[in-house]
């Protein structure tokens, strides 16, 4: 890394400014927006999306996608919930989330990688399968009012810091190191750029793709543990919109939809911007029905600008010192 700000490029700066602008705007529009309680509620509401989004960043980066990740999280949440119901130690139940997620991620990855089915099609199919799985597991009844053991564990956290913060921070750091400091990074980006070329270059395409799905699965499972801890509930419709929200946040963050370029910081900022907008709009008296409209328009705007830029000045985007390299891993 030549420039210490290398990981913080134009898109990331834009998002950071947008987040600050949103905070400023909503502070003016609503007297209840800018206070510790509300802002910490926004952060609390972001935890699952952050974890799932970071996983999705890898998948989009490698040229894949997983639209089943939300319902898959539902399955992992059932595992956690059932263990809590059975009176298992909350630490064990909490760890069962990532473990179950890892297994589900491996299953999803196997279908995509070894089934040689395009990821979007395969995971759309798995969406139905996992949804049916939730249905069969829950039998039409929800897990409600689960024991508070895990909730207390997560809330108390370490030295008064809720467990979500170190979890997200460690996840970010681990992914940063994996992408920047191990062959996983260049392999993932090479495959995302062109699977065929990566194969010719001797990259183990299948292994790298599987790894991306497994890591994404484990993170989704971790999110499931947080979901159960926070809501003490697993409903039939769990995770229905999570995958789409995650994809929106990741793309907003500057990761390429078609692969070959990732930004972890972008994903984090993308999630925060989405959640800030949802919260701030409601507090400013905009009905919640408009929230998806606003976030949808935001996404379209960003992608539109990107497409226009790409057409107009691919050369400048690619030029080594001309601003952000379209190519680099921006962590």
């Amino acid at each position: 890394m030549r420039n210490p700000l290398d990981w913080f490029g134009r898109r990331e700066a834009l998002l950071a400014v947008a987040c600050m602008a949103a905070v400023l705007l909503f502070s003016i529009l609503s007297p209840y927006f800018f206070n510790a309680d509300n802002l910490s509620a926004v952060l609390n509401n972001s935890v699952e999306l952050l974890l799932v989004g970071l996983g999705m960043t890898l998948l989009l980066g490698v040229g894949g996608i997983d639209v089943s990740v939300g319902v898959a999280m539902g399955l992992a949440a059932i595992a956690v919930g059932r263990l809590l119901q059975a009176g298992v130690n909350p630490v064990v139940a909490g760890l069962a989330g990532p473990a179950a997620g890892l297994v589900i991620g491996a299953a999803t990855g196997s279908v995509v990688v070894f089934g040689r089915i395009p990821a979007i099609v395969a995971t759309l199919g798995l969406y139905g399968v996992y949804r049916a799985g939730i249905y069969l597991c829950l039998g039409g009844d929800w897990l409600s009012g689960l024991p508070v053991g895990l909730t207390d564990l997560v809330g108390t956290g370490i030295a008064g810091v809720p467990l979500a913060f170190p979890c997200v921070a460690i996840t970010y750091l681990a992914l940063y190191v994996a992408l920047r400091r191990t062959p996983f990074g260049p392999h993932l980006l090479a495959i995302g750029h062109s699977e065929a070329k990566a194969r010719l270059s001797g990259v183990s395409v299948n292994r790298t793709q599987m790894l991306a799905f497994i890591v994404s699965g484990a993170l989704m499972g971790l999110a499931a543990s947080f979901y159960v801890a926070t809501y003490r509930n697993v409903e039939m419709t769990i995770g229905g919109t999570l995958a789409l929200e995650a994809i929106a946040a990741v793309v907003l963050g500057g990761t390429s939809v078609t692969g070959g370029r990732v930004s972890l910081v972008g994903t984090i900022l993308g999630v925060l911007l989405l959640r800030l907008l949802q919260n701030g709009l409601l507090l400013s008296g905009v009905p919640s029905l408009w929230q998806p409209v606003v976030t949808g328009l935001l996404l379209l705007t960003v992608l539109g600008i990107e497409a226009a830029q790409g057409r107009l000045s691919l050369a400048t985007l690619l030029r080594p010192k001309g601003g952000r390299l379209a190519s680099r891993v921006a962590q």
């Binding site: 509620a41 699952e48 139905g128 009012g145 809501y231 003490r232 229905g240 949802q278 008296g285």
Partner: protein
């Protein structure tokens, strides 16, 4: 794979139903109920109520339905029951538009077909056994809220899908009730959470943040109840903000006990199941429904509207920490 296993289950269910018929081929009249799907606590409770009525009234009760709320499967099951010559078949209709031909076919075979729990109004069904009216549900949740927060308070609403007509109808009657009876009560505009607890909790949290003087929150869709309750607990507002919603005792039990929810409003599906089988027996016997009557074995009267053909169970039930453990659905 999924499809075949589903078909397998379906055929097993049908087989079970038909073999049950074969052995019970005696003089007893047969009343069937086809739920929207089998294996969920709500319809299990209706089944229990129906079985109780069958024992009391001396009829055979057949309970069979699709495993995954598939309207085509449901129609096939109803068709089969009609073909087998069951005396009366009641259905909690999944697809109101496709049931009419089956009603015709049933008439030709002198099988009485009627609806229960979910109606198909223009299908020619004999009667609709209704759990509660939208108006009754809307009024009840507001009346119970006013009992707890007084007539001068601010109340938030978290609903599910903005397109769900039953949820919107309930909200409409809530607003009408407030306008008629409690003009000082301020009902905030509904926010729509879709189906997930996460989104419901997010919206409930935001509503509480935007309205520090909020006195209560109503979760309209049952899927929003856990999220609303959890948001109240997380915000440390148990007792300060009264939570409620249209949700089953199983869903709300923990929150009723923690105090995040003071009450919930719904109906008792066991009673509905009882009334369904009673209505079937009444129709087989050719006895008319009266405007108000108390069926044998029930503790309160039910009403019948001859114009719409609706047999109404009555007032919705209110579940609280005190009575919730008597219900299991």
């Amino acid at each position: 794979m999924l499809k075949t296993s589903k078909l397998l289950l379906l055929s097993v269910a049908l087989l079970a139903a038909t073999s049950g018929l074969a052995t019970a081929a005696d003089a007893k009249k047969k009343v069937a109920f086809v739920p929207q799907l089998i294996g969920i606590p709500y319809f299990d409770a209706m089944k229990a109520g129906g079985t109780a009525a069958a024992n009391k009234l001396g009829v055979d009760f057949i309970y069979t339905g699709p495993v995954d709320a598939n309207p085509v499967d449901q129609l096939q099951i109803v068709q089969n029951l009609v073909n087998q010559g069951v005396d009366a078949v009641s259905v909690s209709v999944l697809d109101a538009s496709s049931i009419a031909p089956v009603v015709e076919a049933a008439k030709a075979k002198h099988v009485i077909l009627f609806t229960s729990d979910s109606d198909a109004p223009n299908s020619g069904r004999a009667v609709y056994v209704a759990q509660a009216t939208d108006e009754g549900l809307g009024d009840m949740i507001i009346d119970e809220m006013v009992k707890r927060v007084g007539p001068d308070a601010k109340i938030g609403i978290v609903s599910g899908e903005a397109t769900a007509s039953n949820l919107n109808a309930w909200i409409g009657y809530m607003q009408a009730r407030v306008k008629d009876k409690y003009p000082k009560l301020k009902l905030l505009a509904p926010q729509f959470a879709g189906g997930t607890a996460q989104r419901a909790a997010q919206l409930a949290t935001d509503i509480m943040a935007a309205n520090p003087d909020l006195k209560g929150i109503i979760g309209v869709a049952s899927s929003t109840c856990p999220g609303v309750a959890q948001a109240i607990e997380t915000a440390g507002k148990v007792g300060k903000v009264i939570g409620t919603g249209y949700c089953s005792p199983n869903t709300a039990r923990a929150y009723l006990k923690s105090g995040a929810f003071a009450y919930t409003v719904l109906w008792d599906p066991a009673e509905l199941g009882y009334l369904t089988v009673w209505a079937g027996k009444q129709l087989i016997d050719g006895k008319p429904f009266e405007a108000t009557m108390t069926p044998e074995g029930m503790s309160h009267p039910v009403t019948y509207d001859a114009k719409t053909g609706i047999l109404l169970l009555g007032e919705p039930a209110v579940f609280t920490a005190q009575n919730v453990d008597n219900y299991h659905f």
